[in-house]
Amino acid sequence: MKNGPLFFFGLFASLTFSFAGVVLFSNYQLGGLAPYYDDSEGKSFPERLPGVAARGQMVYRDLGCIACHTQQVRRPSFGNDQAQGWGDRQSVARDYIHQPYPQLGAARIGQDLTNLAGRKPSALDAEDLMKLLYLGQGAMPAYKFLFQDVKVSGQVPKTALKLTGKNSPSPGHAVVPTERAQVLVAYLLSLKTAYDYPESRPVVKSAAKAEGAHQ
């Protein structure tokens, strides 16, 4: 390694090689991924997030929800994500094409949220989510800073949380979500993977084997 220029050429070639292989090649493979147009439904999937939910994703991102929650379901034959009720199909690259900042995540200190609003038999609704954010649950902290305690005289605001027992605000007061809480909940309610893309259907092993046997 006495040859300086050759040494540096080697360094840069190595980094370029991995960059080309990992980044450029996957960009070549996935960069042009288009929404899937379904003839029978007459529209394409995934659908774009409504504006309010897109703003909610920014709140999700800036609070760092990704530190505890993933948004990627593994295929049914790989892990028990399906048994957990997190989703009946695996997440595929096409699910994320409209997201400016996909929140795949790497830790499951809490649940996977890919299909939070599409859970069966019943998913949490806006009121449940508001309460969950305000009160916390188990390892999930209460994000009280997303809410305001306001004085009310006369009519209670429509958005006020319906709290009971020791959590209820003092008389003459109400707890109302801030705008950030509202857009965050709108985002959480948009988390659905209802549509099945051709590539998201699991390969059925027996069928594949039978095909092989014919040849």
């Binding site: 390694m1 006495k2 040494f7 540096f8 080697g10 360094l11 840069f12 190595s14 980094l15 090689f17 991995s18 960059f19 292989g21 990992v22 980044v23 996957s26 960009n27 493979q29 996935l30 960069g31 991924l33 991102r61 800036d62 609070l63 760092g64 990704i66 530190a67 505890c68 993933t70 593994r74 790989f78 892990g79 028990n80 048994a83 957990q84 009720g85 997440s91 690259a93 994320y96 094409i97 409209h98 997201q99 400016p100 900042y101 996909p102 929140q103 795949l104 790497a106 830790a107 499951r108 200190i109 916390g136 188990g138 390892a139 999930m140 902290p141 209460a142 994000y143 009280k144 800073f145």
Partner: protein, 470 residues
């Protein structure tokens, strides 16, 4: 490699201003990141802790801790030690020391700005890449200024040598800016679409470890261990293969975190294969250092501990990247344990070793307190071991309750199963913080010895140094 000579002493004293500035900032960030790590660790078992504070949600505390540790402590210390080795092996006085000082000031301003930005919610949101977009160019430019001294150390080197420590130092110094700027362009300025961001982020995070932090640590080890133990490294002719394996293959292992994820399957497959290939690199490192390890001095002890942790982390990565294991280890605290093993157990410990060796030589005076040094050694050892063990155990408990279940897991069960281990991890963070505080005090007292005479500037003028060197 020659032992300490008058040459190195003169070079050390000449370059001590900029290097001590970098080291001091590094140690300060180490303590700050320790406080942040403690907060994040407490939040894991006591979610109400700082829950009312939007600036310190768990997600933000985690990002803050990581950024302060990697870009505060490891970067400052790694750059200081790397330049120190580069300059010493070059056999010439450090040039562009003023550039290093200016670069160090702006680098640390950039890191401070990043922490404020992350706390305010501007994190870029990827592993090792949390720095807010507006602080990134500043860091890149500041790094460039510090790097000038590295470039000049390379071009002005007096000996045409082939030391492994030199290859590792220069690889690290020169690959970081490219890696960092590519990540900036592809993730921030012209972001790639969808899951490609996760792929780029994985590639970058692995590059930060394999092409920057690990090479800096290995440079320290290759430089110090033969010096301290007074032995020639066995199988040294293989070191070159170990080096190129790390540089060529290292970055390819990044995709292992995406196993089973919504990305093309080849990304994970290539990463798993690369992890196995990397075992060759770790084997060469083992061959080189097998007889040089020891515990006689703080420097030797920390470097040896770090190298053993480095070897262990290589094995752990190869094992948990296998699909059958990843199935259970993925998304759990086991991954955090592996990360702490490499960052804290390996890189940071080797840096401690080099710090204990370099500071007395830069200051020209031995460490102020052997009690504080001893306390640092024991507390950090206990802390790192406890942290990695606790996180691994928490990961097993988490995996069992979550991935072992055939029906929806109750997260209350997961929380109660992991709680004892997470408490243990907090205890480990307390030990680490106390230990590092002792290092900070000891460092400050040692460097303070310089103050009465003159500010830690250049006590040896260039012409005088030239006379010594020629």
């Amino acid at each position: 490699m020659s032992t300490d000579s008058n040459d190195s002493t003169a070079i050390d004293i000449h370059s001590r201003g900029p290097l001590l500035l970098l080291l001091a900032s590094g140690v300060l960030w180490l303590v700050i990141s320790g406080v942040l790590a403690l907060i994040a660790s407490i939040q894991l078992h006591t979610p109400t802790f700082f829950a009312d504070c939007a600036w310190l949600t768990f997600g933000r505390a985690q990002a803050l801790r990581e950024t302060a540790f990697v870009y505060g402590w490891l970067a400052n210390a790694g750059l200081a030690l790397g330049l120190w080795i580069a300059v010493r092996l070059g056999g010439e006085a450090m040039r562009a020391g003023n550039w290093v000082v200016v670069g160090a000031v702006f680098w640390n301003l950039g890191v401070s700005l990043s922490l404020v930005g992350i706390a305010a919610g501007d994190a870029a949101g990827h592993t090792f890449f949390q720095i807010p977009s507006y602080a990134q160019p500043l860091l890149l430019v500041a790094y460039g200024a510090i790097g000038v001294a590295g470039v000049l150390a390379w071009t002005g080197r007096r000996h045409e040598t082939g030391f492994a420590s030199q290859w590792y130092v220069f690889a690290a110094l020169f690959l970081f800016p490219w890696l960092f700027s590519v990540a900036q362009v592809t993730l921030v300025w012209l972001p790639v679409r969808g899951v490609l961001q996760a792929i780029v982020a994985g590639w970058f995070a692995q590059g930060i470890y394999s092409l920057w932090l690990a090479p800096l640590a290995l440079a320290c080890a290759y430089y110090l261990l033969p010096k301290i133990s007074g032995r020639v490294l066995p199988a040294y002719q293989f070191a070159v293969f170990g080096f190129w394996t790390l540089i060529v293959v290292g970055c390819w292992t990044g995709g292992r975190h995406l196993i089973g994820g919504p990305v093309p399957a080849w990304i994970a497959t290539v990463a798993i294969a690369a992890c196995s290939l990397m075992v060759f690199h770790y084997f060469v490192v083992f061959l080189n250092f097998r007889s040089a390890l020891g515990t006689k001095s703080s420097a030797l002890y920390f470097t040896s501990f770090g190298l053993l942790a480095y070897l262990l982390s290589g094995l752990v990565e190869a094992v948990i990247s296998l699909r059958g294991v990843a199935l259970y280890a993925q998304f759990t605290f086991v991954e955090q344990a592996a990360q702490q093993l490499s960052l804290y157990g390996a890189v940071s410990m080797v840096f401690f070793g080099a710090l204990y060796f370099a500071v007395p030589r830069l200051v020209g005076k031995s460490w102020a307190s052997s009690f504080l040094a001893g306390g640092h050694v024991s507390l950090v050892t206990v802390g790192v071991v406890l942290l990695v063990v606790a996180l691994t155990a928490a990961g097993f408990a988490q995996s069992q309750t979550m991935f072992g279940a055939t029906q929806p897991a109750k997260f209350a069960d997961v929380a109660s199963a992991t709680r004892p281990w997470l408490l243990m991890a907090t205890a480990a963070q307390v030990a680490l913080l106390l230990g590092n505080l002792m290092l900070l005090v000891n460092f400050a007292q040692t460097v303070a010895a310089l103050v009465p005479f003159r500010a830690a500037g250049n006590p040896v003028s260039r012409p005088a140094l030239k006379a010594v060197l020629s």
